[in-house]
């Protein structure tokens, strides 16, 4: 059995751990507020962008002029999975839930005989995926040391995706990230970005424009030129949004994970203190008995 001194050391160690988890929880809470504001501020842009693109896509649908980024290559043999995760751990199931979703998708695709390629954003996801799909990972983007995710980071990743697409490295691209719903709920999400999927398949806005038919948009400059600019931009925006949602989700997940850890540490301290006090009392009683019985023997 552990001596009293050992037990005191254990309790002190648990208390120190509790202090760390408590501090991490508070740091996550303050970071969360900023990340959440950024994620929520970016939503309108991404949504409007999707809407605008959706109505243009409906207008050019079926025509041969539709660029590949919009219409896809026509095949779906090679899939690129862009898996966005955090740079750090200790945030509960955040990283592994995204990885799990990506893994299920990858397995399903491989079972269908499709080829899968993976692009990792974030160190943690790359580490988890490397074990199983080491050969499939074509690139890893680390955002270490990035304090506040800016549009340029998303732009860089999107440019990489577009470059790969233009080389013909894949047909379909899916983005994996965690959508921030609330502090306790983050939903791992898969979003297909090439070719883009729009939420409302029958987009009403161009058709309902005063009885005008589809394809009634005027373009300035030319349609191709606009789409050539709009489509890569849409990609950057979607990646940017995914990164921001991820940042908010990560802090939310870390906050609740650390809250749990702090509570568990408190529970452990209570139990250890109880055992410590019991043992101490038992030793005192034992010593007393020894003294009394010694005195009686005289």
């Amino acid at each position: 059995m552990a001596s009293l001194k050992d037990m005191r050391v254990r309790i002190a160690a648990t208390k120190a751990t509790q202090k760390i988890t408590k501090a991490m929880q508070m740091v996550a809470a303050s970071k969360l507020r900023r990340a959440q504001a950024a994620a929520e501020a970016a939503r309108p842009y991404a949504e409007r962008m999707g809407k605008v693109l959706g109505s243009i896509a409906a207008a050019v649908a079926g025509s041969d002029a539709a660029p590949k980024l919009l219409a896809g290559t026509g095949g779906d043999k090679v899939h690129l999975l862009v898996v966005c995760t955090a740079e750090r751990g200790l945030c509960g199931p955040f990283n592994s839930s995204i990885v799990r979703l990506a893994r299920e998708k990858a397995n399903a695709l491989t079972a269908e005989g499709k080829e899968v390629k993976i692009l990792c954003v974030g160190r943690k996801g790359a580490e988890q995926l490397r074990r199983l799909y080491g050969k499939l990972i074509i690139e890893t983007v680390e955002l270490r040391g990035v304090k506040q995710i800016g549009f340029e980071h998303a732009d860089m990743i999107a440019k990489k995706i577009v470059a790969l697409f233009e080389q013909g490295a894949f047909d379909v691209c899916t983005l994996f990230f965690s959508r921030f719903k609330s502090v306790i709920a983050q939903i791992p999400t898969a979003q297909q970005i090439i070719p883009p999927v729009f939420e409302s398949p029958s987009h009403p806005s161009p058709a309902s424009g005063g009885g005008l038919g589809r394809g009634s948009y005027e373009y300035e400059p030319e349609e191709e030129e606009i789409l050539a600019e709009l489509l890569p931009r849409n990609l950057s925006v979607q990646v940017f949004r995914a990164l921001l949602e991820n940042a908010a989700s990560e802090q939310g997940a870390r906050m609740s994970a650390m809250d749990n850890a702090t509570r568990n540490a408190g529970e452990m301290i209570r139990k250890q203190t109880l055992t410590y006090n019991r043992t101490r009392q038992a030793m005192i009683t034992k010593e007393l008995i020894e003294i009394i019985s010694g005195a009686e023997a005289l």
Binding site: A38, A41, A42, P44, Y45, R48, M49, K51, V52, S55, I56, F151, S205, P206, S208, G209, G210, L212, S216, Y217, E218, Y219, E220, P221, E225, I226, E229, L230, R233, V237, F240
Partner: protein
């Protein structure tokens, strides 16, 4: 009849509401949008967007992006949008110097022409800002 106008940048929703008219700096010239405008899509050049509402005029600097007019109204997706009073002049100066550097390093060609036009747009915006600042 009021026009529904929305101006969004990647960072935030800058403007949303009913207005009378919006003058948009299009890549091929400025155009005004009133309620009931024909559906169109246009790219923007760096310039100044004017919002005319019942309460008066509002000038907003936009640095590139897209405008979409549909039956629902006008949506402007700007790369950067900031009201004339609040904009950080340093951002424009920095973008200008970046462009200048890229132009210096470029070979002649259509790409170079594009960059030079872009720089001109920035200069116009900058001049305009200097003008209003002196009022």
């Amino acid at each position: 009849m009021a026009l529904h106008f929305e101006l969004v940048s990647p960072e935030k929703l800058v403007f949303s509401g009913e207005v009378e008219q919006v003058d948009v700096p299009g890549a091929e010239g400025d155009f005004g949008v009133l309620a009931g405008h024909a559906p169109m899509v246009a790219t923007l050049r760096p310039g100044i967007l004017t919002v005319k509402a019942a309460g008066g005029e509002q000038k907003i600097v936009v640095l590139g992006g897209f405008a979409e007019v549909s039956s629902e109204g006008l949506t402007v997706l700007a790369d950067l949008a900031e009201s004339v009073d609040a904009i950080d002049r340093a951002v424009i100066a920095q973008r200008m110097s970046e462009l200048e550097k890229r132009i210096a390093a470029m070979q002649a060609g259509s790409e170079l022409d594009k960059l030079i036009t872009r720089l001109d747009h920035y200069k116009t915006v900058d001049r305009h800002l200097t003008g209003t600042a002196m009022h």
